[in-house]
């Protein structure tokens, strides 16, 4: 299983990442990709309001280590041939790409499960912090209860200490 983890200010090209996964080995039957984008509107008080930009901070060193643990856990749980995670940091504009998760596997279920598992853990366990700039003001984004709940479906007691 080949894994690639990158944290970078630069944008990424999903077709390049897809090709790298596809070219890994001859047994690949399924490639699942997830790309997260900056939504152009976010709730502000009661209603959605356009955002100016998003800024992402991270804890260099710890983030890479956590993402690599998440990938190891996914690889222990499903039959995977390749995993790529790319997460951008710094200032992003509306509709820009934030995060890419790509999983290559023999069969589709492994790819879908692993991609969801990685995103659920990334959202709640990887040391990134988002600040949103909206109506001329900057605010740190609150963590979402729905993200914490999404973790529960994987139901691994030892995941708590990740």
């Amino acid at each position: 299983m080949k894994s690639t983890i990158r944290i970078q200010p630069e944008d990424f090209d999903i077709s390049e990442q897809y090709q790298l996964l596809r070219d890994l080995t001859k047994g690949i039957g399924a490639v699942v990709t997830f790309t997260g984008l900056v939504r152009e509107f976010e709730p502000s008080g009661d209603q959605p309001s356009a955002i100016d930009s998003l800024s992402i901070q991270h804890y260099s060193g710890m983030t890479e280590e956590r993402l690599s643990q998440i990938v190891d856990r996914a690889a222990a749980r499903w039959n995977l041939l390749g995993v790529t995670i790319i997460h951008r940091i710094g200032e992003l504009l509306p509709s820009e790409q934030i995060v890419f998760v790509g999983v290559a596997s023999q069969h589709r279920n492994d790819g879908f499960m692993a991609a969801q598992f990685i995103m659920d853990y990334l959202k709640t366990q990887a040391t990134f912090w988002k600040q949103i700039s909206q109506n001329g003001r900057s605010c740190w984004v609150d963590s979402k209860v729905s993200d914490a709940q999404a973790l529960k479906r994987w139901n691994l007691p030892e995941d708590k200490d990740l």
């Binding site: 804890y59 280590e65 997460h87 990134f128």
Partner: protein, 79 residues
């Protein structure tokens, strides 16, 4: 001496906080900040704030070693 790092919303309150400090636990670091950085100390008291020593999550009471990197982490919001 241990090295201090503050992330997310905590970093907004960390202006003027020394980057190195003498302390035996993370709990003691918070205590030391109460007088001169009361807003930061209040934020650090939020139950969701975690402490990492040398990039591993630890208890607030864990004994610190000279040269440790102590990071205070509010809930993460990546992805």
């Amino acid at each position: 001496m241990v090295k201090l790092l503050f992330f997310g919303r905590l970093s907004d309150y960390a202006n003027g906080v020394p980057t190195q400090i003498q302390a035996s636990t993370a709990a003691e670091i918070r205590q030391q900040l109460v007088t001169e950085h009361p807003l930061l100390a209040t934020e650090l008291s939020e139950p969701q704030v975690l402490v990492a020593v040398n990039k591993q999550i630890v208890d607030w009471q864990q004994a610190l070693q000279d040269g440790d990197e102590v990071a205070f982490l509010p809930p993460v919001t990546g992805g």
